[in-house]
Symmetry: C2
Subunit: 322 residues, 2 copies
Amino acid sequence: MTKIIELDEIKRTLPSIDLLRIMEEGFAAYSNGRTVVPPVGELVFENPPGEAHIKYGYIKEDDYYVVKIASGFYENPKLGLPSSQGLMLLFCQKSGALKAILLDNGHLTDIRTAAAGTVAAKYLAPEEVTAIGVLGAGIQARQQVLHLQSVTDCRKVFVWTRSDKGAENYLTWFADSDFDITFVSDTAEVAARCNLIVTATPSKEPLLHAADIFPGTHITAVGSDTADKVELDLEILRMADLVVSDSLVQSETRGEVFRAVEAGVLHRKDLLELGAIITRGEKARRDDTQITVADLTGVAVQDIQIAKAVFENSQSEESLDA
Amino acid sequence: MTKIIELDEIKRTLPSIDLLRIMEEGFAAYSNGRTVVPPVGELVFENPPGEAHIKYGYIKEDDYYVVKIASGFYENPKLGLPSSQGLMLLFCQKSGALKAILLDNGHLTDIRTAAAGTVAAKYLAPEEVTAIGVLGAGIQARQQVLHLQSVTDCRKVFVWTRSDKGAENYLTWFADSDFDITFVSDTAEVAARCNLIVTATPSKEPLLHAADIFPGTHITAVGSDTADKVELDLEILRMADLVVSDSLVQSETRGEVFRAVEAGVLHRKDLLELGAIITRGEKARRDDTQITVADLTGVAVQDIQIAKAVFENSQSEESLDA
């Protein structure tokens, strides 16, 4: 019997899930070699431009395997459609039976990505977060800030975006919250005012520059998940005291780390994997003057963890006899 | 709106589809570079043993892209479950929207594989098929014979299998048909009696030997779709006048051709791709004395073609607002 879990039910289920815990467990399993996560499958479309990523894998000795398809078609809003589409599939690891179809339209990818940012902040951000800086004003720029509530009391947020419409939406999202949102026109101002910065844009040019970064800053770079996207000046990765990747293997072909290693400003031996830090169980920054960077490209183990949790916590009765 | 098409409805829809035509069109598009088909994704499980294949891609300028997950857990029958599991997903190529979930449990993979065997026979088998030989008595060994009806009038079939139970089932399947089924205990007898042979076993040892093959024989090898499965003696590929692969790229890492090239008995320059033969539009064998081999490892374009056709012909009203 296959359970169908639609987006409404997924959203109803999420508050009952301890996202921080399941992401930490997932990353730890991944870094400790207890997962099977093949390279990301990728389809690129040209007319109109779009891309689909297929992430799949399993945790050894677990009950399930997961396949996630998530696409971005950036001209969709012109047609009145969301740019993110996709679903997750949960299969029994012992028989291959399809246990659940999670029709999340990319929402679980947004949430698990934000939850990974929270994990990075927990282990890498300074003890006292003075202000949260955000580059971008899209869904991920919103979700990152919302989820950071579980690891910091800071509600002061400086946002940089090129989009007036994006800024307007962003304010609406946070209208009823206790977040204090300020827009700034220069990324250097974000760097000057904030010691926890999240970059969440699809940029292909560096947005944040080394000369602007103050000691004691942690940066989580979320936007770059391919070989050609980039948000951080290479010099930031050179000057950082600590650079952490969610997946050392994936960082060989995508993300900020990939570019910095290619350019020779960063050496692979100096990298740490997020799950290894979690396993150690304590903050990875030595003091509040270090500059740290977490480069997140998104790992299938996050999809596995969130799909399992939604399936196990969902009250959905909808099912098929497949 | 996402259409859900369950197995019963898929089976009701299939008779209205011209499988031979859509497979020919698919292979031709593939060989002419009009498709995007990345390498097959693969998950291997150990306890219990199983494997899942993820095939995905699209035909350029078409309406859809397709992701297919098909697994084999060979101990499932002990639990009263079919060993094949899986589904196909059809997405809009212009927006990424999920158009249909085809809950086929591997059935469409069985059918499109059999249809590919038919295409191979159409272009490679001798003009007059004296008898059809089959190695194996499983679902694929059955479907290959059934589908060959569209390209030959021959109803005389010689089957070799190690399984008494398999033989019994096989006879039951064909009980009400006009096929004349004979079981033989030696693969050499299949080779002696038949000039169109289909091998459809999961063997890891050669079953058919060069010394037994008569001039004028065509062999379609369906069983080997990984690097370690093999049904044909390497010498058969050396002696063959023509060796055809459904995918030259896939034959670099899997199937009979892979092994023969590795062993140095076959040269890649002498290979032909099935879609190139279809494009040429005439039988590829020169006369009725040549020995020909088609090595089919299964290409995502077949999944794309069959998923599209089922979606477009299905009468299913079942849908979700995803």
